[in-house]
Amino acid sequence: MHPSLPASQGNYSRRSLSLEERRIRSAWLLLLPMLLVLALVAMLPLYQTVFYSFTDVSLDDLTVYEFVAFQNYLDYYEEEWYGLLSDGLWWKAVWNTLVFATISVSLETLLGLMIALFLNTKFKGRGYLRAAILIPWALPTVVSAKMWAWMLNDQFGIINDLFVKIGLISDPIAWTASSGLLTIILVDVWKTTPFMALLILAGLQTLPQDCYQAAKIDGVSPVRVFFKVTLPYIKSAIIVAVIFRMLDALRVFDLIYVLTPNNQNTISMSVFARQYLFDFDRFAYGSAASSFLFIVVCMFTLTMIKLSKFNLN
């Protein structure tokens, strides 16, 4: 019927094919610099870390080493166990990290959800509130740690002063020295709840308003609306935010390093690894700890991906 059509179509598709090919070639050209950088700053160092964890390398000369297989992880020698897996302090660090991550992320999620619900209602000065809660998030962790260390100072701190004045405590408390993880969790919750709140808020704002209108007209109680409409709708946004935060919390370093330096009661996996790498001159042992943390993070991520896929479907 249209004799010219097949020809022109063939022509067009041949031209667009070569266009497609050119596009793909330019895609790889655009990706190449980024891939090179990622290989150099991520894959290569990670490989090197794992490699070092199977050697006896020391900080003095990183080119001299011998393979020791799993000795840094676990070793049995003259009826004694050695290595990371038999190191009480390491398990303490693992425990602390897990406790810190679980409790602080749970609190941040609950408080963040609450603040997000607040921010999602219309009221005067909403912009100011949003700006105010962004401040803790934007501060460098070192600065927030120092600020809180000063506020929680046992002798001159404002927190002790305030709590004694309102009768909450009778004597000043040495917060950073004696309360262990509690103080660290408190500062972390203060600093990262805003991040949680904003991520959850972003999820809330995609919720169609007519759901609320319909529920309001039907006279459904707000609590019921929250559990039946809002929560299921923003569940995936919350899961994503929790995964992000957990990964962040599992690597906690700055806060503990600055707030409670050289304190074995609050040591985390990252602090432990860095101490052995650079302070105790046991680079290989520290590399083993670093590799172990990587494995923990991988396992957590895979579990979460499995679980959340299961949930989402």
Binding site: L30, V41, Q48, L62, I133, I135, W150, I158, A202, R274
Partner: protein, 277 residues
């Protein structure tokens, strides 16, 4: 308005007030502490009186703090420029061009963003020694890419995917090169995203601690957060709180201004990274 509604309203605003106070007070307290000197510092008060700038004078004249701030600025700005430069092209390729391995590439980038920094630290330390970059700010430009590249690519990709095909189709038919399409078609529309991503990257680089602590060993080359962490008195028991608070305020004030001016941009960047991911 019923009594119940009134009570709810009061509760609502009381909670809001509490949230604002808890968020802002520590920073406010750092400011008033930094404005006290001598024994005033050790008397708790809620207003800055009398005001005294001696902590600022001392911290700015002491050691290399001014240089440390400029080091931070230098590193953070360059990291932003390099990361965005690499990420715009890469995320255009991922978001707009269909090729094999796109999904795997995204998974790779996402998994690199999950690397704990400590897991690459030993290997990175060795690499930096081999490249003879120890104690150089270049080592930071280099190592910060591990968290800035995945983040910038991921968020740019989220923004770029949203554009209608027609936008670049006309340019493609006209035979425009990929570079032209990115520069002339995408960037002009994308600049709000560039600002969001640039701000978030800047904040992340400005605040980084672990790499800066490890790779830099001399005081004049340190970045500001590390300098603050290492500020100490002549003895262990003599922590110079006044100086630490003044330095903290100096380092934080630019960030707080950025946050207050660009809060919408920052929030949209955060949201794009999380929701569309």
């Amino acid at each position: 308005m019923t009594v119940r509604e009134k009570i709810l309203r009061v509760l609502f605003y009381a909670t809001l007030g509490a949230i604002v106070v808890v968020s802002v007070f520590p920073f406010y307290y750092a400011i008033i502490s930094s404005l006290k000197s001598g024994t005033d510092l050790f008397r708790v008060s809620y207003v800055p009186y009398p005001i005294d700038f001696s902590n600022y004078i001392s911290v700015l004249n002491q050691g290399s703090f001014v240089r440390n701030v400029f080091n931070s600025l230098f590193v953070a700005l360059l990291v932003v420029i390099i990361s965005i430069g690499l990420a715009v092209g890469a995320s255009y390729a991922i978001a707009r061009i269909r090729f094999k391995g796109r999904g795997i590439l995204m998974m790779l980038i996402l998994s690199i963003s999950m690397f704990p920094p400590i897991a690459v630290l030993p290997g990175m330390f060795q690499l930096i020694t081999v490249l003879e970059l120890s104690n150089s700010l270049i080592s930071l430009l280099f190592s910060y890419m591990i968290f800035t590249i995945p983040f910038t690519v991921w968020v740019f990709n989220a923004f770029m995917r949203e554009f209608p095909k027609e936008l670049e189709h006309a340019a493609l038919v006209d035979g425009a090169s990929t570079a032209t399409i990115i520069m002339r078609v995408f960037l002009p529309v994308l600049w709000p995203a560039v600002v969001s991503i640039g701000l978030l990257t800047f904040i992340a680089a400005w605040n980084e601690f672990l790499f800066a602590l490890t790779f830099i060993s001399s005081d004049p080359k340190r970045t500001a957060p590390v300098a603050i962490a290492l500020l100490s008195g002549s003895t262990n028991h003599e922590i110079p709180w006044g100086n630490i608070m003044a330095a903290s305020v100096i380092v934080t004030l630019p960030l707080v201004v950025l946050v207050l001016v660009f809060q919408r941009k920052i929030i949209s960047g955060l949201a794009a990274g999380a929701i569309k991911g």
